[in-house]
């Protein structure tokens, strides 16, 4: 998985578990960047009666909010220091209208422009958004609360979970009002979506038995297409579409395209919980106290998942990217590089003999890729000047999107490996096959970027998880991840019963 349940501690705290981070120049609005930060992994659509939600304090009627919440952050480094100069913070509140029912909704949930969501929706979430601008060298910061557009209620509202065709009829009519378009061009959404990540979990974590080449595995099987384990799973998404001029250090639009000195940003998400959480057995309420400490982080996919050793994963989640030089060894000599030749005997002789530090992987994950190693069209690449080793998802905002809509028709889902400069590891689009890209990279496909003397093994071309993304998970426009799969229509264990076959 990209980062679903990637570390032992966060696997037990889904509300704070960052699952995927996407950052790309918006295909239908190329003067903006879209950032999608996903949380709450592996949601079965029929997950009632307590449907999935963001970590939040709870309000019952007019009482004070109680319980512990999660502070969600999207961080942007536009100076190459590894320190975010822009942070968007999100804090959620859960409101229960009727304390005397066990129901998530007491009837069909509807929406009207005059009255908002109907009172039949009993357990709902709203949130605040704050932008913090920080001078990375001086440390001074300014905080700006962001309000919903005029005419909206006091807080941003999430749409309900897609419970099913009786509870949430016309789901598109429920999710659309939760997309907020601000006068300065910022667009905000937070709520449940279809999980656009695609991965064959069953094969990857069964000793990397890639189904398309299973006959060559150490314990051989039959070759077969991969299976998308997330085909009918949902996720909770925090989505921003931000004008590029709001992301540059000088607040100006790019004038030199991919070569602009302000073109590259590094993006990472964090989730924080307060230091102390005390459970009161007399009320059943947990009260948090103290600073918000980082419990989850995510930049590039799969780093904490398959690069950082098991015993260090929770620690990695607590660390700021600016401190990442301590993890450089795991990137320079990845364990998976040693495993592949052992699991596929005879397939990777050149990789098995390669003992140098993986400068290509350090560039992809921790410093950015200099444009010169790809070609002139890559401009300054994703390189941030090499000032610091900091694992982030880097995006050259001056490289135009390959597709004009969010379904990414006509693009290569292998990104840079498929000669598509607008894809991973130049940022990440929802349709990028980051598992196959990462497998090929670790198998040696990207070593020649920094070491031209190396010849990748022929087997690298065959390395693939063999999974095709489901078009059902995407949509052409913001937030690009489609409406969530419905609960009634997607009982996970009974696909033959499924009247709305998404499985």
């Amino acid at each position: 998985m990209s980062s679903h349940k990637e570390a032992p501690a966060i696997a037990k705290d889904p509300a704070a578990d960052s699952t995927d981070l996407y950052a790309f120049v918006s295909p239908d609005a190329p003067d903006t960047v879209t950032i999608l930060a996903n949380y709450v992994p592996l949601q079965d659509p029929d997950g009632g009666p307590n449907f999935f939600e963001f970590g939040a304090k709870t309000v019952v009627g007019s009482a004070a909010a109680v319980g512990d919440d999660v502070l969600y952050e999207i961080n942007i480094d536009n100076t190459g220091t590894g320190i975010p100069s822009i942070t968007y913070q999100f804090q959620f509140t859960t409101t229960i209208l009727d304390a005397n029912t066990f129901l998530y909704n007491t009837g069909p949930i509807t929406y009207s422009s005059s009255g908002g969501y109907s009172s039949s929706w009993n357990r709902r979430q709203t949130y605040t958004v704050t932008r913090i601008d920080t001078d990375p060298t001086m440390g001074a910061s300014t905080s700006t609360p962001i309000s919903p557009p005029a005419g909206s209620s006091g807080a941003f509202a999430c749409p309900p979970c897609n419970v099913g065709i009786r509870s949430t009829p016309n789901y598109a009519g429920l999710s659309a009002p939760a997309i907020y378009r601000m006068s300065d061009g910022l667009i905000v959404f937070a709520g449940q979506r279809a999980d656009g990540f695609f991965v064959d979990l069953g094969s990857i974590f069964d000793l990397a038995d890639l189904r398309p080449i299973s006959s060559d595995q150490l314990i051989p099987g039959s070759n077969a297409p991969g299976i998308n384990s997330l085909a009918a799973k949902n996720v909770h998404c925090i989505a921003l579409q931000i004008p590029i001029s709001s992301l540059t250090p000088d607040g100006a639009a790019l004038t030199m395209g991919a070569n602009d000195p302000n073109a590259v940003i590094g993006v990472f998400t964090t989730a924080r919980r307060q230091t102390v959480r005390m459970f009161d057995p007399t009320t059943g309420i947990t009260t948090p106290t103290g600073p918000y400490d980082q419990v989850s982080r995510l930049g590039s996919p799969l780093v904490n998942e398959v690069v950082v050793p098991m015993a260090s994963k929770d620690y990695f989640n607590s660390q700021a990217p600016v401190n990442d030089s301590q993890f450089a060894g795991a990137v320079e000599h990845p364990e998976l590089q040693g495993l592949l030749p052992a699991l596929y005997p005879g397939a990777f002789p050149n990789l098995a003999a390669y003992s140098k530090a993986r400068a290509d992987l350090v560039a992809i994950f921790a410093t950015g890729i200099p444009g010169s190693v790809i070609g002139p069209a890559f401009g300054v690449g994703t390189y941030q000047g090499g000032k610091v080793v900091a694992e982030m998802l880097r995006l050259n905002m001056g490289i135009a999107p390959t597709s004009s809509d969010g379904t990414q028709a006509g693009t290569s889902n292998l990104g840079l490996l498929g000669d598509d400069l607008a894809g991973f590891p130049n940022g990440r689009r929802p349709t990028d096959d980051v598992v196959t890209i990462a497998l090929k990279a670790v198998a040696g496909a990207t070593i020649p970027l920094t070491d031209p003397s190396f010849t990748p093994d022929a087997a690298v071309a065959l390395v693939s998880q063999g999974v095709t993304a489901s078009p059902r998970a995407y949509q052409a426009s913001f937030p690009y991840l489609a409406d969530p799969h419905g609960g009634f229509s997607n009982p996970p264990a009974t696909p033959s019963y499924n009247p709305d076959p998404e499985l």
């Binding site: 304090k57 309000v59 019952v60 009627g61 007019s62 009482a63 004070a64 909010a65 109680v66 502070l71 952050e73 961080n75 975010p84 942070t87 913070q89 804090q91 509140t93 229960i96 209208l97 009727d98 304390a99 005397n100 029912t101 129901l103 007491t106 009837g107 069909p108 109907s118 009172s119 039949s120 009993n122 605040t128 958004v129 704050t130 913090i132 920080t134 440390g139 001074a140 910061s141 905080s143 609360p145 924080r272 307060q274 230091t275 102390v276 005390m278 009320t283 309420i285 009260t287 948090p288 106290t289 103290g290 600073p291 918000y292 400490d293 980082q294």
Partner: protein, 95 residues
């Protein structure tokens, strides 16, 4: 269940949700008390700048009773505090 009954059930349930919510709310508020401590500004972005509703109270963690090192947690703040006699006193109270 006939269609008409189902519609009535759904309509009644919706009305009920709005009516009973206020009545249920007060009890929980009494249990938890008022909230609303100030939110300190921190440069690292580790403290939310949006207004927070917080639980009241101070948590003291005696990190090392011998040296008197105590961590205090209040609202969204952490304060390191050293008081050997207080730390010893607290330790004594646990016996």
């Amino acid at each position: 269940m006939p269609n008409i009954s189902r519609r009535i059930f759904l309509r009644n349930a919706s009305i009920g949700a709005a009516a009973t919510g206020v009545a249920a709310a007060g009890g929980l508020g009494l249990l938890t008390g008022p909230s609303g401590a100030d939110t300190p500004v921190k440069p690292s972005g580790t403290t939310p700048d949006a207004p927070l509703l917080e639980g009241s109270g101070v948590v003291a963690h005696v990190v090392d009773a011998k040296s008197g090192q105590i961590s205090l947690y209040v609202g969204t703040k952490h304060v390191s505090y050293t008081n050997q006699s207080l730390a010893q006193e607290l330790l004594k109270a646990t016996r």
